[in-house]
């Protein structure tokens, strides 16, 4: 029993490290691609590892216990959510891989981060965090509509089962069966990752990088970890929901990268919307697509016949 627990613990830590390493690598490659679009040479794709190492080797200024606790609370639920994510053929806790649980933990992470940065007392942080939460209220609605469609279609809320139902080739993937839902979740992903046109929470010229303005050293390092793990988790969810999961880890991260690639291409060419425009946008086109997808699933009879 104890040995089993220790093995699970080691596997959990391994998944966390893997997600972090992959997220940082994606970020580094993303920076390089954006640099090339912008006619720059760009930093090496390992720059994010170097930055993280540097941040954790620097001294840090704390703004009190709520600040410290908030940042840990922002990072821990992300790691916890990873334990339920099917990564290729591997899921640490397959019997508990409920989508609701994962989405709940992701929201907890953002609320934790909000608690931390609000404790810094900087008005830019407060505005940034209020924008992040407002944006969340925007993209979570179409995201929920898509999850509802997948529930109706797959008749299960467990990611492991949703992945299993898509086995057998490309034509079984949910992207083929629910293309509108995929489109809606891809747009929502742009907001979840905070990339343009939905990067209002950190808008440097407007609010001096918002939540990050009071983060330095290890605290900024924690923020970077949260973003990198979030990147792995959020793209991973879409791979499992719509791209049929993956038979091995390498194919899984290749599929994640395709999603991230689309996100950074959009990020490179579009400017930033105002915050209220972003929220209302999410409540229009992506939500419409999500609801339309749910209606199509219902009409196709998958649910009414139950």
């Amino acid at each position: 029993m104890v040995i089993e627990f220790l093995i699970k613990l080691a596997q959990g830590l391994g998944i966390g490290a893997l997600a972090l390493a992959t997220g940082l690598l994606f970020g580094g490659i993303g920076r390089k691609i954006i640099a090339r679009i912008q006619r720059r040479y760009g930093p090496p794709f390992t720059q994010n590892y170097i930055d993280l190492f540097k941040l954790f080797s620097k001294g840090s200024v704390s703004h009190g216990w709520a600040f410290d606790l908030g940042l840990v609370a922002g990072f821990a639920p992300m790691l916890a959510a990873l334990m339920f994510l099917p990564i290729g053929p591997f899921t640490l806790l397959p019997s508990d891989s409920s989508l609701i649980m994962i989405v709940y933990l992701m929201m907890m992470a953002y609320l934790g981060m909000a608690m931390g940065v609000l404790a810094s007392g900087n008005p830019n942080s407060a505005i940034g965090m209020s924008r992040a939460l407002m944006l969340m209220a925007g993209y979570e609605v179409p995201f929920a509509a898509v999850i509802f469609s997948v529930y109706l279609f797959s008749k299960t809320g467990y990611l492991t089962q949703i992945v299993a139902q898509q086995a057998g080739g490309f034509m079984n993937w949910n992207i083929v069966k629910m293309p509108l839902g995929f489109l809606a979740i891809e747009i929502a992903l742009q907001g979840m990752l905070g990339e343009k046109p939905f990067d209002q929470a950190i808008a440097p010229a407007e609010i001096a990088s918002g939540p990050m303005v009071e983060l330095g050293g290890k605290y900024l390092g924690f923020g970077m970890i949260q973003h990198s793990v979030g990147l792995f988790l959020e793209t991973g969810i879409v791979v499992d929901l719509f791209l049929g999961g993956a038979p091995n880890f390498w194919i899984f991260i290749a599929k994640q990268f395709v999603l991230y690639f689309i996100v950074i291409l959009v990020d490179a060419i579009l400017p930033r919307l105002r915050i209220h425009e972003s929220t209302s946008f999410f409540w229009k086109l992506p939500l419409f697509l999500g609801i339309l997808q749910a209606v199509i699933v219902i009409i196709q009879g998958g649910v009414l016949n139950v």
Binding site: I34, A205, P271, R274
Partner: protein, 376 residues
């Protein structure tokens, strides 16, 4: 938030927010202190005085020609207008005739600097709206102009190339050909910028109708340059009171006239095309001859007693130098009229009130202000 909190009601928090001096949304060593109500600006207090130079006072302590190395610092993105305006004033007071070739070279330098400044100014819109690809593209193209300046003057940003009586050196061999190649390249890039920036629906959404300035307000508050012309007042010193050889050149003043942030940037974009037109004519028409009239030894250089106001049209508007001489080897007094002073220090206190925080840096950068000319 509690650190800057002024008061709190059931609906709003009232607090202070600093845009600058260490803030990506501001230009130069300058700051606005905003009193905020929720996300909207209630009161604006400009906070200049952070440059710690005192150009005007420094000029009184230096020889007439030594000042040429100091004054370009008054406007970093477009330093040449200072040099030319100052030289025009000194030449007028001394009665020096500037050779035709030198006048053409001055126009080439001014128009090239104007294009560089417009590219820099348009990139400000990208920086504030997060359209960073346009920023990198525009700054990248501006670098080709800096290469040309480096070849001509030895300096990339500050050129210190003008001198009473003309310019310090003649154009190097092949320089005009290279300039012509660059203009060809830039003209090919412009449709791409139009599509990428001005036809971008989000850029339009964020700038059309923002920070409207009526023609009456623009005149009353002393606005000049593209900011004035974007409000529909077609005043340009190059046309109204031509200096150098502008009267021999054929160019138009583009009309946008909507008075909002979008038209202010569009005005610059259209004027950029006119500057290309002017440069092409200069390449064709520039005569042979001396590039400078000989003037006395700098240590014995005395300007006759009197005063004169010389002005040039910069990319931001009227740049003027009011020069007073008591016949000494140094100026008695030099007053600099910068184009950003009126809009950045005065009009901003009216224009920013009621604006949402996300629009403030967009407004600042679409007016293309240059705060060192507040702190001169």
């Amino acid at each position: 938030m509690e650190l800057n909190l002024l008061k709190e009601s059931n609906d709003y928090k009232y607090y202070e927010l600093f845009i600058g001096p260490n803030h990506p949304g501001i230009e130069g060593n300058f700051s606005y202190v905003l009193k905020m109500k929720g996300h909207s600006v209630e009161e604006v207090t400009p906070d200049p005085g952070l440059l710690h130079r005192g150009f005007e006072k420094l000029m009184e302590r230096r020889l007439w020609t030594q000042n040429l190395a100091l004054i370009p610092r008054i406007c970093v993105p477009e330093p040449d207008v200072n040099e030319v305006a100052y030289c025009l004033g000194v030449e007028h007071m001394m009665g020096i005739d500037v050779p035709k070739r030198a006048q053409y070279i001055r126009v080439i330098v001014l128009e090239l600097a104007r294009i560089a400044s417009f590219l820099f100014g348009m990139s400000g819109l990208g920086g504030t709206t997060g359209h960073y690809t346009s920023v990198q593209w525009l700054i990248g193209d501006r670098d080709y102009i800096l290469d040309l300046f480096e070849w001509l003057t030895g300096g990339r940003v500050y050129h210190i190339y003008q001198y009473p009586g003309g310019v310090k050196n003649d154009l190097p061999e092949g320089w005009l050909d290279k300039l012509s190649d660059f203009l060809d390249y830039l003209e090919k890039r412009l449709p791409e910028y139009d599509k990428f920036i001005f036809k971008n629906p989000i850029i339009q959404k964020r700038t059309v109708g923002l920070g409207y300035i009526s023609a009456e307000d623009a005149i009353e508050n002393g606005l000049t340059g593209p900011n004035l012309r974007a409000s529909g007042v077609m005043y340009d010193i190059r046309k109204a009171q031509p200096y150098l050889v502008y009267s021999e050149l054929d160019f138009d003043i583009p009309k946008t006239g909507d008075g909002d942030a979008f038209s202010r940037v569009l005005q610059r974009r259209l004027e950029l095309s006119e500057s290309i037109k002017i440069l092409r004519q200069c390449i064709e028409q520039i005569p042979e001859g001396p590039h400078r009239t000989k003037v006395p030894n700098p240590f014995q250089f005395r300007v006759p007693k009197g005063s004169y106001y010389s002005k040039v049209e910069s990319s931001r508007g009227e740049f003027g130098y009011y020069i007073v001489s008591d016949g000494d080897v140094k100026p008695y007094r030099v007053y600099v009229r910068g184009p950003s002073y009126s809009i950045g220090l005065y009009y901003a206190t009216k224009a920013l009130v009621g604006m949402r925080i996300e629009d403030v840096p967009v407004w600042i950068h679409t007016t293309d202000m240059c705060p060192p000319d507040f702190d001169r």
